[in-house]
């Protein structure tokens, strides 16, 4: 093999390793969109079941979990071949769920029953049900695997579930209609969005107390349309990003000073967010404009939008 061929081969290999795949659930198409974000192309769309919404990828990037709400199940797919592996008994109408770091437990919000169901993934069994507030929606597991937070939309509370005991140890009242919740990578903070109030609440995990409430305000946009939903916080806790729903913008928040640095215009009704594996890009699902936006985080600019299908809802990224 001559020197040039070797360089060429290395170049090809490195491109291959850098390429990542973005998976987007399409609520109305009953499908999953598979996108190559670097090429800016929709590669294919596969049927996954009725009304797919919540999506997560296992930490080893091998399995894809998708809540197919109208099938009343969470399906597990091989992230490489996209073949369906199994179905998990999620209870009725699963929408959002959270995977623990070891990927052996799944925590599911059962909106109609005011419950959080704990699933043993290997045994495909519900091992516990925890009574929470009315209409639980957002749910997150802390990276240190100590806490699950369930946000109940109508009770307006965050319920802190201690994973060891499987019980609620604290309830924090937040602004009306909490939607999404997320932990910082160091597990020290939890961030929660309140859709009706147009706010983001930042809480201290240790004390479970509110550190800061951030009110979003955009000139020329009425407060009614600022409805914060999805949250992404970078691993170094430098910046956090919040999708603002029908305000069609993503808020960029300095995670140290809690100042809102800017609002980036993306597609219509921006819903959920996911980082690229190197955290250099952010992907957003835009429910009404039927596309995803790509934000380059170094320049803090929206670089591309890719049409994916009807009602893009959740997003997960595989390296």
């Amino acid at each position: 093999m001559n020197k040039y061929n070797l360089i060429l081969l290395l170049a090809v290999l490195s491109t291959v390793t850098r390429a990542e795949t973005v998976f987007v659930t399409l609520e109305k198409d009953n499908a999953l969109a598979v996108v190559d974000p670097i090429a800016g192309q929709l590669i294919k769309t596969i049927n996954v079941g009725q009304r797919p919404r919540g999506i997560a990828i296992s930490p080893d990037n091998k399995k894809l979990f998708i809540a197919t709400s109208d099938d009343n199940t969470i399906k597990v797919f091989d992230a490489e071949t996209l073949k369906e592996l199994t179905k998990l008994p999620s209870g009725d109408d699963p929408e959002t769920f959270a995977l623990n770091p070891k990927a052996d437990r799944l925590y599911v919000s059962n909106e109609d029953d005011s419950m959080v169901t704990v699933l043993d993934i290997a045994k495909k069994k519900a091992i516990k049900q925890i009574k929470v507030g009315v209409e639980p929606e957002g749910i997150a597991v802390s990276p240190d695997n100590h806490w699950v937070i369930s946000a109940s939309e109508t009770t307006n509370m965050l319920h802190w579930i201690d994973i060891k005991s499987g019980t609620i140890v604290e309830n924090t009242l937040v602004d009306p209609r909490p939607r999404a919740v997320n932990f910082t990578m160091d597990s020290q903070q939890a961030w929660a969005t309140s859709e009706m109030a147009g706010t983001l609440t930042i809480l201290d995990t240790q004390s479970k107390k509110i550190i800061k409430t951030i009110h979003f305000a955009i000139p020329g946009v009425t407060n009614d349309t600022i409805q914060p939903v999805g949250i992404a916080i970078d691993n170094k806790r430098q910046r956090g990003y919040v999708a603002l729903g029908p305000a069609n913008r993503v808020a960029v928040i300095n995670a140290q000073t809690y100042e809102v640095e800017s609002y980036l215009l993306v597609g219509q009704r921006v819903w959920n967010l996911a980082f690229s594996p190197d955290q250099k890009r952010l992907y957003t699902t835009n429910g009404v404009s039927n596309d995803i936006s790509i934000i380059d985080l170094e320049s803090q600019k929206v670089t591309k939008s890719i049409a994916v299908g009807t009602y893009p809802w959740g997003v997960a990224v595989k390296p």
Partner: protein, 399 residues
């Protein structure tokens, strides 16, 4: 140095006071705060229906209040509060005002009223000097929100003018701006017609013709021929019907002389709630309500739900069962009620009306949600519906 006897006495007194405070505190923490809400309604007389398709519902409102109490208590279990709904269902030949003065006045801080305007005004008068808040979940009268307004009543259902404005905004969007107004012969029909006329004036819509439906014949048998004759008039875009009890309105569609859609109290209606509504989490509450009752949620159920939830929300946030404190919070900046309409609901300070989007619904399809995009307002687009602050003739401050 040993303390003198006087000093010693003081120390003991201090200790005693401290111990008592401690005791009080623990007693409060152990016992739940109970917030009791009186729900006052009178049984309805069954009206002769035009269609037998819709079964008569004699408890409109009540299951909504019950569902809300359950929701309040789910929250309450985490905040140390318990909510109780005490139901007073007055028989249709009974006197609701008597029941109020004997069993509710001086006993409850919060009342959800399903009474008519006349009775509502009477109970509000009796309660005026008391620490009591009345949430009206039944009336749509504009005068109750204007010249007849009372400081201790908050109104949950949208007024007739809000409904008329919602219809008018959508008609403006469609450019169906020439209306033929058909009015029933009941006083309420006249009130709805007045709201329609007000909306027409506000949005620059022309009412090209106006007729009263006289009921001088058996509509069941002769609707086909009579409606055609009755609706021969000037050229118009839509027929607006004012028939709140549903005595003839359903017979207009498809029987008019000209091929024109029907809106108003029949056809396309403006309502606070409808079974076709599924957006913004509405599916969840529609399902929960149906599981509870086996029927669809009606507008009155939704209003009673919101009334009880509003008390719950304010009581939870203030950790109080005091009528004034709860009312202050409800009328304050921070109050934001989740009503499955995509935007937070709050009360207008000038007339106590709950500001809310209205659903424009056909029998089997949700057509639009008002305020319609493009109708702007400096504070909130929701205030493009109904009497805005400068137009209001309510002179009593609600706070």
């Amino acid at each position: 140095m040993m303390p003198s006897s006087k000093q010693f006495l003081w120390m003991s007194v201090n200790l005693l006071v401290f111990l008592q405070l401690l005791d009080l505190h623990s007693a409060f923490a152990a016992g739940k705060q109970v917030i009791t809400i009186a729900y006052l309604t009178q049984q309805q007389t069954k009206q002769a229906p035009l269609s037998n398709l819709d079964p008569f519902i004699d408890n409109k409102g009540l299951p909504g209040g019950e569902l809300a109490i359950t929701d309040n208590n789910t929250t309450g279990q985490f905040t140390g509060q318990e909510f109780v709904l005490k139901k007073f269902i007055v028989p249709n030949n009974g006197n609701a005002v008597d029941v109020f003065s004997k069993s509710i006045l001086n006993k409850y801080n919060f009342v959800v009223s399903m009474l008519t305007k006349t009775d509502l005004l009477k109970i509000a008068e009796m309660a005026s000097a008391k620490p009591m808040l009345v949430l009206d979940a039944a009336t749509q009268d504009d005068d109750l929100r204007n010249e007849q307004c009372r400081s201790n009543i908050l109104h949950v259902l949208p007024s007739r003018s809000m409904r008329a404005d919602a219809l008018a905004q959508y008609m403006m969007k469609k450019r169906w701006t020439h209306w033929f107004l058909v009015i029933g012969n009941k006083p309420d029909d006249q009130l709805f017609a007045n709201a329609i006329k007000r909306a027409a004036k506000r949005f620059g819509i022309k009412i090209v013709a106006e007729k009263t439906w006289e009921h001088t014949f058996d509509a069941r048998r002769s609707a086909q021929s009579d409606v055609a004759v009755f609706t021969q008039t000037e050229e118009y875009d839509v027929l607006v019907v004012a028939d709140e009890q549903g005595e003839f309105g359903e017979y207009l569609d498809y029987r008019t002389w000209l091929p024109r859609p029907v809106i108003g109290t029949q056809g396309l209606i403006a309502t606070a709630w409808h079974r076709t509504h599924e957006q913004w989490g509405a599916t969840q509450i529609q399902n929960r309500f149906k599981d509870l009752t086996g029927r669809w949620m009606e507008e009155q159920d939704y209003a009673a739900y919101l009334a009880v939830r509003a008390i719950g929300e304010a009581a939870t946030r203030t950790q109080s069962k005091d009528a004034q404190q709860v009312k202050d919070y409800m009328l304050g900046e921070k109050f934001a009620l989740q009503g499955y309409k995509g935007v937070p609901l709050s009360f207008r300070l000038w007339d106590g009306q709950l500001r809310q989007p209205l659903l424009l619904a056909a029998p089997r399809s949700l057509v639009a949600v008002a305020p319609i995009e493009g109708f702007l307002h400096p504070k909130t687009e929701l205030d493009t519906l109904g009497y805005d602050q400068p137009e209001s003739t309510c002179k009593i401050k609600k706070q």
